[in-house]
C-alpha cells in the first residue's frame, strides 16, 4: 500500500512538473512520494527485537509514554540516516526543500525543483521495487 501511495504521489509530481508553473508543489509531492518509498522500504521490519508493521506502530511503541518524542518527520529522518545511509542526503534534502520553501516565499527556482526530482529518483532507486 505504501508503494502504491509513493507511486501515486510520484505521478502527481510528474503531472505538476509538466505544467511548468508550480515548482513548489513539484518539490512537495516529490517529498511525500519519497516519504512513502522509505516507509515501504523500512517496514514491516524488526526493531529492538519486535516486529513492526508500520512506522506509526514503531513510533507509538518508542514514545507512547514519553514526553520527549520527536516529530514523526524527524523520527523518519533519523531512521533513514541509520538504516538507509546511501539516501540520507537525498531524503534530507527533499524534507528541507519542502518544509523550508515557506522561507523563500514558496518561490522555488527551477534549479531547486530539479534537485528535488533528482533526489526522488535516488530514493526510489533504493526503496522502490523495480
Amino acid at each position: 500500500m505504501r508503494l502504491q501511495h509513493a507511486k501515486h504521489n510520484e505521478d502527481a509530481c510528474n503531472a505538476i512538473y509538466q505544467l511548468e508553473k508550480y515548482n513548489d508543489w513539484v518539490v512537495t509531492t516529490a517529498f511525500y512520494s519519497a516519504l512513502h518509498y522509505v516507509n515501504h522500504k523500512l517496514f514491516p521490519s524488526e526493531y529492538e527485537g519486535t516486529q513492526f508493521a508500520t512506522l506509526d506502530t514503531y513510533y507509538r511503541h518508542r514514545f507512547i509514554s514519553s514526553n520527549r518524542k520527536p516529530s514523526k518527520h524527524w523520527f523518519t529522518l533519523n531512521l533513514v540516516k541509520e538504516k538507509l545511509p546511501t539516501i540520507n542526503a537525498s531524503y534530507r534534502r527533499l524534507f528541507e526543500l519542502s518544509s523550508n520553501a515557506r522561507y523563500i516565499d514558496y518561490q522555488t527556482t527551477p534549479r531547486l525543483m530539479e534537485e528535488a526530482r533528482k533526489s526522488l529518483i535516488k530514493v526510489k532507486g533504493v526503496c522502490g521495487d523495480s
Binding site: 524527524w74 542526503a89 534534502r93 518544509s99 515557506r102 518561490q107
Partner: protein
Amino acid sequence: MDKETIVKKTTTSNIDTPFGKELKKDFFSADDVLDAYFQGKNDGIKNYSEELLTLIKRNVRDTSRFTFEVSEFLFQKGVSPSNSYIRLTSKYSVDVLLTISEDEYLNEDFIEVYDIVGSLEDEYNSEDLNIHLSFVPKNESFREEVILSDGYILNTNFHETSTRKTQ
C-alpha cells in the same frame, strides 16, 4: 471545643488515653497538613522552575556549540553560511536553520555535508536534547520575517559575527 483547644490537644503529648499512655508528638492538625501541602507545592514549583531554566540554558548553549561546529566545517569547505536561526520546539528539542546561497547549496560537493551534520547531531543529541538542523537555500525571495514568526528567536549573522535575540 474551640479550634485552639483542638490544636493544642492534638499536638501535645498530654492527652489522656484509655490505655494510660502518652501520645507522641506526631499528630498534626488539619491546618498543619494544609500548610505542609502548600509549602511542598510551592517548593516543588520553585524547584521545577529552576531545573527547567537550567535545562533550557544548557540546551541553548549546546545547540550554539553545535551550530558553531557545523558552520566552522562549512567555512573550511569554502561554504559561507550567512545566518543561523535557533528555535526551541520544546524543552528537549531544538531546530536550527542555516541559510546559504542557492549556488553553494546546489554544488555537488555540498551533499557530503549532510553526513557530517548527521554525525554531529548524533554526537550532541541525548535524552535531554534533540537538535535538528536544516538548510535554507537563499534567493531573492528570502523572507526572514517568516522565519522569525515561526519562533526562531536566536539569530547569528556570520558576517557581523554576533548573536542577538530576535526582536
